[in-house]
């Protein structure tokens, strides 16, 4: 039997703590989340789909620069639609507070529909609602022109979009089972799609994942893009330094003490 060197020396210790961010102990924690995210993605691939047709692709994204890029793309999108602005700005903060992002996309909804005449997209008894708005020859959709004035180049096969929902649902179910925090976001998905994640997909949903003492995706305050943990900490850094210098002393010679109650009167 072959023995691996690491098997012969199976021992060690791992200190894990979310504080301070991006420290070795925090990165070890993030690696645990990455393992959970991998299992979530596997769950997404086993989700029920119409006709048992494979149509889900996934992308795992992690790292400080990578998450910051996604957050900035969401902020960019926020300013393209008044309705999105505040929610998307909040969600960009959540992305920065995440450990891993799972992007899940459906590779068929824009190109190879279910062709079952289910009616979900247009309400009819055939697939004409989809094909009449697509460039195609005898039902083979030409997706080579990827330019679109819209955020998502619809129409899409809604049955396939439903399959994407199943994939997202299964990923989220596994997150619950593994007790990591996760939520599905349109903003994260659209940003990811524009950045090239899930490159073969017509629609993408982003599922940020985290394992922290406070779930990043719930219980936010107003103006969350202005008042959040990162900003609070930065503001503490901003004011505390100044607070120290306005009243300095040589601690080796004298340290101010609180007045003892009644002592002054006796003296």
């Amino acid at each position: 039997m072959r023995k691996y060197v690491e098997d012969l020396d199976f021992r060690g210790e791992e200190h894990i703590n979310e504080w301070t961010p991006w420290s070795p102990q925090d990165i070890r924690r993030k690696k645990g989340v990455l393992e959970a995210a991998r299992m979530m993605l596997n769950s997404a691939l086993t989700a029920p789909v119409a006709g048992g047709v494979p149509s889900t692709e996934g992308h795992l994204v992690y790292g400080q620069e990578e998450l910051e890029s996604v957050a900035r793309k969401i902020e960019e999108l926020a300013y393209t639609n008044k309705v999105w602005k505040e929610a998307f700005l909040y969600e960009a903060v959540m992305v920065r507070d995440s450990d891993v992002i799972i992007f899940l996309g459906n590779t068929r909804c824009h190109e190879t529909p279910l062709d079952a005449g289910c009616g979900l997209c247009g309400g009819g008894l055939d697939c004409s609602n989809f094909y009449e708005k697509k460039t195609h020859k005898y039902g083979l959709v030409d997706i080579t022109d990827r330019s679109s004035p819209r955020h998502i180049n619809g129409p899409l096969c809604t049955a396939r979009v439903g399959d994407l929902g199943y994939a997202v649902g299964s990923a989220l179910w596994t997150a619950c089972t593994l007790m990591v925090d996760a939520r599905p976001f349109a903003s994260v998905g659209m940003a990811g799609q524009k950045m090239g994640y899930c490159p073969k997909s017509g629609m993408v949903v982003g599922v940020p994942v985290a394992a922290k003492s406070k779930n990043p995706y719930v219980d936010v305050n107003v103006d969350y893009h202005l008042i959040n943990m990162e900003k609070v900490l930065d503001n503490t850094r901003k004011v505390y330094g100044t607070a120290r210098i306005i009243r300095g002393f040589d601690y080796r010679k004298w340290i101010p003490k609180p007045k003892a109650v009644g002592k002054e009167e006796e003296e």
Binding site: G124, I152, Y166, G169, R183, P184
Partner: protein, 275 residues
Amino acid sequence: MGHLFGKEYSLEHVVDVAKSIVLAIHKAPQITGKTRIEAEILWGEDLVPVIEVMEQTGRAFRYVQWDYETIKRCHDKGESPVIVAIGAAASLSNLGWNCGSCGFDTCKEYNEFANGVGSGLLGGPSCNWKVLDWAIACDWACAAAWQYRVDNRIMGSVGAALGFLGYLPGSSVKLGLALGPPRDLVYYSREDVHKVLTYEMDKMDLLNSVPAMFAGFPGGGNPAYKTKDDWWAPPENVKFWMDPAPLEIVQDALFEKIPLIVAKYSGEIEARYKK
């Protein structure tokens, strides 16, 4: 003190499991946070109208036929499946996202198109983001069922029947999660369909659905298809034509037979929602 045993107790408990599954449906996370989800539970004799409608749609669509045969045969044996009906109000968008995934530039344009339309087998038209929310809820229903180790399958066939009969009146899209009876492999490798399935049917379904599998040498431009053991004597070829027979079956099922079934049951079903 107590002593529970036998098939009846197990079957009844599937209804309790269905109730727990409905909790999971409503707990499922949403992307929009604005999609109204409905769920109902049907079993026993209340499945009869659903089974009757599925019999008709099953004439037109093989996948419905298998679901129909499975549910009907379980029901007839006294092992009623329990159906969790899951719907959502997805036809109109109140999001204002103007994302374009529906094919319109704005939600306003889409809503103008979608208002009053809607005759698809599974419902529609739909806002794709609301369908995503609904699908996540359906997926959580399936996942919850697996957690209880109850055989289950989410079915468009049942959803279409629910739509015809007027169940889930507030929903524009509907699916049915069939649960139980409590044994292994009810809806996968379906034993209850053994008596219906013939070798010839299976072979013809494959020939019709995956013709490339049976194609001979294509170099001549008109390949022979291996439809029999001695496929070369004489060879048979593929020909495309408009076959009116399947369309006639669809027409008869959807517009002749099913309206009669709906007329028989819809009054009673509608009355339940007025209570």
